[in-house]
């Protein structure tokens, strides 16, 4: 195939990456126009995992959609559910007891860490480093065990309820979580020794692409990718929901926006999540974990929006109600959708092996893109 772009004649061939490709982390297809080893154009092809979630949300009472919310971003399901529950509580005016809000924060942050750990292992695996994923999965397994005890599931949690959480946490949960905090802190040193200071890793990821705050504004990029450019934007700080305003934590930022800094930001975010969990455990209030709510709960007429800081960026639910229990319109804004849309601009004229690295940095979860 010959293309003629303006005055520069570029001769390329087409290469199909995915939808079943290990480094696309799910059913993403990227159509590549190549010139030898170089990518001329990269066009993501979406929809292989499309389940029309928004229509499902509009065709049953809002309660029936709760399990779906954990199947969008299945790697950080609790945070994703938090947004939906928060939206319903905002519309109906129901408030969760303080203890429930603390439990939500603790479990959400554990989920954020498990999501970052999965990313860390898989990202390094993309780069050809097999060992780290063994370590990160070992750590992640601890979180899955802790969350399984209280939520009953290991991945697609349906644990939050309007007015609280499904089940109270007990002394065992607290002891296990504290032990995990200790453990993960000691593991960070291993990760830094194994990866951060590894010259092969640095050469592979540093200075390949540079995200800028302007790019982020044009494409709506949020989350660690945005923060690597030096913008300290975090919904937990800018539009604090639940009880995040009560905790002392920092928003780690980078400067140059390259993939190494995205890596460093994510690693530091895990430490900040640990700090939030520690404070929440120290100050965990007594009381009920679930408020009494009416069995039938129609949503008042009108619209409302609720945004949370998911592991990958801004996750927003926007709901329009006609006054019944069934939402009239439910829009789901997922961070990866916007984060991926920059790929064609970011990866133009790049080596194919670098494109694999950049795709890994984006930390894509395809079901939340396709919905």
């Amino acid at each position: 195939m010959t293309t003629n772009n303006g005055n520069e004649k570029r001769q390329g061939f087409y290469l199909n990456m995915g939808p079943q490709h290990p480094s696309t982390h799910g059913v993403l297809r990227v159509l590549l126009e190549m010139d030898g080893e170089y990518v001329l154009e990269a066009e993501p092809v979406l929809g292989y995992g499309h389940r029309i979630q928004e229509k499902m949300g509009e065709s049953r009472p809002w309660k029936g959609f709760m399990p779906n919310t954990s199947r969008l971003d299945y790697v950080g399901a609790l945070i994703c559910t938090h947004g939906y529950i928060g939206l319903i509580e905002r519309m109906t005016g129901i408030e969760a007891p303080l203890r429930a809000e603390y439990i939500r924060v603790i479990t959400s942050e554990l989920n954020r860490i498990s999501s970052h750990l999965l990313w860390l292992g898989a990202f390094l695996l993309d780069l050809g480093a097999f060992t780290p994923i063994m370590y990160t999965f070992d750590d992640r397994e601890q979180i899955l065990d802790i969350l399984e005890d209280v939520t009953g599931s290991r991945l697609t949690y349906c644990y939050f309820r309007v007015g609280g959480v499904n089940r109270d946490i007990d002394a065992t949960f607290i002891a296990k979580t504290r032990a995990f905090i200790e453990r993960l802190r000691s593991r960070f040193r291993i990760y830094h020794d194994l990866v951060t200071t590894n010259i092969i890793f640095i050469k592979r990821v540093q200075d390949i692409v540079h995200l800028t705050p302007d790019m982020a504004m044009r494409y709506g990029i949020t989350g660690p990718l945005l923060r690597s450019t030096g913008v300290g934007y975090d919904i937990r700080k800018s539009e604090p929901y639940s009880v995040y305003a009560d905790f002392d934590f920092e928003v780690p930022v980078g400067t140059s926006g390259d993939c190494l800094e995205v890596y460093l930001v994510r690693l530091e975010e895990m430490e900040q999540s640990l700090r939030i969990i520690e404070q929440a455990l120290d100050r965990l209030p007594d009381g009920p974990h679930l408020a009494k709510t009416p069995k039938k709960l129609p949503l008042p007429q009108g619209d409302a929006s609720f945004s949370v800081e998911a592991a990958r960026g801004e996750f927003t639910y926007y709901l329009v109600s006609d006054g019944s229990e069934v939402p009239y319109r439910l829009k789901i804004r997922s961070p990866c959708f916007s984060n991926l849309s920059i790929l064609p601009e970011l990866c133009r004229d790049m080596l194919l092996s670098d494109l694999v690295m950049v795709l890994g940095t984006l930390d894509l979860v395809i079901p939340e893109i396709d919905r």
Partner: protein
Amino acid sequence: MDVTERLIDDLRNLPAVVERADYRLQGYHLEVRLQSAQVRDFAKLLRERNFYLAFVSAVHVAAAIEILYQLACFTQPCRILAKAAVSDQGSVPSIADIFDGANWHERETHEMFGVVFSGHPYLEPLLLPEESADLRPLLKAEDAILPADRIRRQAAGQTEDSTLPAKSEGGTSGSDPEKIE
């Protein structure tokens, strides 16, 4: 908050209808109503003011489909929800050249609702397979389309059902106190 005040003034000069929303109840700070002809000026203004586009979507109401734009800002808590009714020709100007991220959002809105974004560089299906490109799955069935005023928030005290006497927080709760427990 003079930055927001200035923004409100500039939006009103577009001219657009701007209202402050109660963030605690609605989750956004400003509600903007636009004519479809003003959409591009609106987008340009917010691009200048360093806003980012959270999403573009639509809601199917009578008489015309409403396009939704949600934007927020990295440096100040200001979330904007803008609504623009599509023109009689069923189209609305594309803002994909102002906010690059709008490209995919508009493609999605096009395949889900059939709205044409005029000036869009590549208005092809994004999520749906080619064979169902004409499904428009998020359009309501004919008997289920509601007029726009049936989905508007009602001012406090205006709700029809026997609401709670305005609680200290969230007075718009539509729940019946009898049913609790």
